[in-house]
Symmetry: none
């Protein structure tokens, strides 16, 4: 008796997953503005009311979607950081189209959804901290082989370049992309060498 009446729809429900899937697809294809109760329902082949049964408010839906994506990112990041070549894996992570495209949508969304914003900030900081932790282990606290750039700086720089590639790529702008990729590539090679020296 007397249990908290919220938290509807078991975390593992198939219906719930379908809704999140539809919401994610909409966000990816048409931007966060397209994620509405109705459209999610239609896309998932369900009734609009059912969406509200699982996610009482639109914020609840968006937060659940963000959480799911964040968990996936966490897993990908962990896999990257324990890979043979962690730097390259980290770069691949930053340059991963589907994940980063969603992240960008959430960043735009965070601008006017305060609930989302706090989740974003917390998660971004966690991820950067985790990367710094690993990069520090790889290169020592002194900094990376990139002219002594410290791990936190390297994390931001790679993330920024990755996002720019994906953002522009999504729009269809590609000038300079190959050159930028090659530039980063040459960094990775240099850093890998640096690391071997250190060992």
């Amino acid at each position: 008796m007397a249990v908290a009446p919220r938290r509807v729809g078991a975390e593992g429900s198939a219906t719930r997953a379908a809704m999140l899937g539809a919401a994610e697809a909409l966000m990816r294809d048409e931007g966060y503005g397209a994620v509405s109760t109705r459209r999610v329902a239609t896309r998932a082949g369900l009734k609009p009311s059912l969406v509200h049964y699982y996610f009482p408010t639109t914020d609840d839906l968006l937060i659940a979607l963000f959480r799911r994506g964040a968990d996936q990112s966490d897993e990908m990041l962990e896999a990257a950081l324990s890979a043979d070549d962690p730097l390259r894996a980290l770069w691949d992570f930053f340059a991963d189209t589907s994940r980063t495209a969603l992240t960008l949508e959430f960043m735009a969304l965070a601008n006017h959804r305060k609930t989302i914003r706090s989740f974003m900030v917390e998660h971004s900081e966690q991820m950067r901290a985790r990367q710094v932790e690993l990069l520090s282990r790889l290169f020592g606290k002194a900094g990376t082989g990139l002219d002594g750039c410290p791990p936190a700086g390297l994390s931001l720089v790679l993330a920024g370049i990755g996002r720019a590639l994906i953002m522009e790529g999504g729009l269809g702008v590609t000038a300079g992309h190959a050159e930028a990729r090659a530039f980063v590539e040459q960094w990775l090679v240099r850093l890998a060498a640096e690391r071997e020296l250190q060992d």
Copy 2:
């Protein structure tokens, strides 16, 4: 550069400018989703119908707003490229908060407004081309002093890092920012030296 100009109120009208100002403020403060006929009118202290009189459709308004911003960006870019230290000026341009925040909103908007998207793409490509033109003159076609990274790559890399700083800064995430800025700073110094050698 001018594209088909669409007949929308006198280009120089004060009323028109007030509307664009209100629209820009809304977009900056609350995201592109807040830019609606009615809210623009309210914010500008005008009647909603008047907005439609000047901008028949919402797309027209958004495009006009984008154009105005693009023109400002063009001017800023031209000023930067003819500055004493064009590289530093270019970087300052990329790291300029107010302008970039709007650009990010437009990028998000382009995801579900096809009319906007084409304007965005066209303008992005123009700007990159213009930068390449200048950087090539500075460093020769062989590439910059950054390990031979060609101008187009450098343009994207700087733009990406600048945007990341602003995006994250807007959210309140600042880990790694100082380090990344110092890293870019050291580039600018190196490139300036390189350039003097070349002269």
Copy 3:
């Protein structure tokens, strides 16, 4: 240029009056809970959106309705107070079915509409003050002929009895009504006599 964009629909518009009429009828017939955008529109033979065009929020509609009723009450009260037999006129005012039934609905409504509540309170106090003003002139400050009951007390007592008659009458309860009316009647006679003595 630059006028406040609210205050839609001229105060004298026929459409606006039709909406208020429909809202009032609904409130009288089915209680304040029945006053919804849709039902008002349907009852007035108009489209629901038009209701929102005239009254952006439901509170706006309810406040406008209250104001209209308050103005009518004010007029009725003034007429009563300047009648030949002001006391009887005041009692007739309190026992007026249609007006009081609405007042009762607004009182119930005020319980959970904070905007309404403040209007109600202000108006109730004004009306009582106005009545006290007149009754004081009629009987002197010492009090009425009802065993020295002061004007403010008499105002509340008459209002309460009138409301009880109307509330119960609306439900179909009538036991004691004739007796209560006769009781008040005998007061009025007594007070009228008292007043003549005083003159």
Copy 4:
């Protein structure tokens, strides 16, 4: 007195009582409009479906709530009528804030819930009849000491004044309240004297 009892959960269940308690609190705090299946469940810390398990329809819940309140009123009234000073006890009963506030909500509710209305009417009539019965015993059928006002009239008059005090008090209007209370007080004294003479 018992009417057809409808099968709704064990009459004495603690869960049931919790629901009625939540419903009553909601009605008191936010008006009858706030009494919905879901809100009652949330407030009681129970699942919405459970409310429907005990009270198939919302009307069933409201009727049960009304019944419970009516029973309490009956007890209070009986206690009052057998008190040392029945008249004062009756007046205290009419001026009792917590009970009367709920009664007023039910009166408003009765306006658009026909099922509630008939219960209200029946109970109101019963209560008045009971009061008349007692007052007649106290004063004889001829009427009370209030200028011969018969018991039924006195009942309505006192109820009306009591309700007005509570209604207005709830809103924060208090002008004339002290005077009205003093006026009734002086009645009670007069009636008590009258009664002793009669004995």
